[in-house]
């Protein structure tokens, strides 16, 4: 209905296919299976939210896409290009898939602007001067004007998160992989960050793979919400959120939003309970 729906003709980059991916960690004693025959389709320019209980294997899946860890079997394809498969189990990390980590990974020894221009300068895509101009502009766009010369340690955690997202976008990625980026934030900052993220997203269309514990966050932000089973993880239920983008905080009070929460909370709760009981058994 509008240009903000995913799969619109304008966007052809960033389609990710996860096909039958298995990941077992060879540990001493029994091997730990973290991901079990997981298949998921993420459209170009879609915000795909991954919800699952703690320790179920969400980060493991993200590491496979990013290329930080090898998979055991299966295949991950991005825009027709195989990132990893049985023959080549570890994808090559690259600027087309940038991760924003759970605890943040801005370099503390570089000021915010230096952090933001790191990618394009490293890749030789932009000269330093141009990178600085672009970095300043993007920071200003994200409401970060004035903190360019500050170190990450000098600004609030909400701001650090935004700087990190701007740093990611400076690489012109096809996909952003976010691993619970707002977990440590208080709920007030979190709600501001959600709107800020959507605003950034509307300006820079990228595919977003977003891991969270929080079902409300998932439904508020996502085009699609994949609810994962407890370990080993696999989509238990994939929900399409039929609320039009652009969204803002008024969505939270709509009837449809509440209905979607009700429809899914059962499944989420069930898996959380299983994870809890499994934890009880183990330890």
């Amino acid at each position: 209905m509008d240009m903000h729906q995913p799969g619109a003709a304008a966007l052809t980059r960033g389609r990710i296919l996860i096909e039958d991916v298995v990941k077992t960690y060879p540990t001493e004693g029994a091997a730990v299976m973290a991901v079990d025959h997981c298949s998921l389709e993420i459209e170009a320019g879609e915000i795909c939210m991954i919800v699952g209980p703690s320790g179920c294997g969400k980060t493991t899946l993200l590491n496979a896409i990013a290329g930080f860890h090898a998979i055991t079997s299966g295949r991950i394809v991005m825009d027709g290009e195989t990132l990893c498969s049985a023959e080549k189990p570890k994808a090559e990390p690259g600027p087309d898939r940038i991760v924003v980590f759970q605890n943040g990974a801005l370099f503390p020894w570089k000021n915010n602007l230096e952090n933001v221009i790191f990618g394009p300068v490293m890749q030789g895509k932009l000269a330093r001067k141009q990178a600085i101009d672009k970095g300043r502009a993007m920071m200003a766009d994200a409401g970060l004007a004035g903190v360019e010369r500050n170190y990450p340690g000098e600004v609030s955690s909400g701001m650090r998160r935004r700087v990190e997202i701007v740093r990611a976008l400076m690489n012109d990625p096809k996909a952003l992989l976010l691993d619970e980026p707002y977990r440590a934030l208080d709920s007030l900052t979190k709600s501001v960050m959600h709107e800020a993220l959507l605003e950034i997203y509307y300006k820079n269309k990228v595919t977003i793979f977003f891991i969270t514990h929080d079902l409300e966050e998932a439904i508020f932000l996502g085009h699609k919400v994949a609810i994962m089973t407890t370990r080993p993880c696999r989509p238990k239920k994939v929900l399409t959120v039929d609320i039009a983008h652009p969204r803002d905080y008024s969505v939270l009070t709509t009837k449809r939003f509440r209905e979607l929460i009700e429809e899914t909370s059962e499944a989420v709760h069930e898996e959380a309970l299983k994870a809890f009981q499994a934890g009880e058994r183990e330890g």
Binding site: P93, A105, F107, M122, N171
Partner: protein
Amino acid sequence: MRKPLRSLLSSPVFWRGAVSIVAFVILWELGARSKQWMAPELFVPLKEMLGAMGFKKDYLPWIGVVPAPSTVLIAWIAVLGQGGYWQSWYMSLFRVMSGFVAAMLIGIPFGLLLAVSRTAQGIGFPVFEVLRPIPPLAWVPASIIFWPTQELAISFVTFLGAFYTIVINVLGGARSIDLHYFQAAQSMGSSQWDIFRRVILPGTLPSIVVGSAVGMGITWEVVVAAEMISGGGSQQSGAGGGLGFFIWSSYVGGSYEQIVVGMISIGIAGFASSELLRWLGRYVTPWLRVR
């Protein structure tokens, strides 16, 4: 420049420190002079009582034999005019600096090499770990035999004092860098060399600073002891053998005030070099100043 002074003068920490030092000096002075205004007979009953309990009276320490700060000050002013005293300063400082700089120049690359290369670690670390428990002072005789001059021998022992600490800190610092920094740098297209230069090096810098500060402290301990053991390294003029030898020869010569002068001089030298390093450390790690 006015502002720091004013804030210093209005800070309770400064005043507490100043009061404590002044009180210490006054007590010391009173203690050292107690001989003059306290009749020794006063202590006879006490000593007898302790003697009856089995203590030998000679075993008791007596602050009255320590030179008073006022006499130390007089002795100090006297040596300020002597070339030998300054020569001692110069020699100790030179040995500390040469040993310390060599420890930095060799220890930092060595620590980094151990951190980034498994092969280097496999070859280098076992030898390092076997030699590390040997205290630097145990090296003094061997290094006097090994090195052609005594000067080099003392500098070498000083070097050892700082070397182990610097290597251990660099290695530990490089190892504890958050894995996510490497992953982020790799995703953003960094080469191995970029990662070394832009992640490992700055990530290890705080530990280099800490290792250097600790190493500098050890260096002063080692140099003084090495100078005492080796006889100062200068046979022609007794006072030319560094501050450690200055203290030793004052002791041998019975000039107790000068012993204290030497001790305070080393305290000042150690404090000044640590302060200098702290200042340099803050300068090279500006991101740690905030918080």
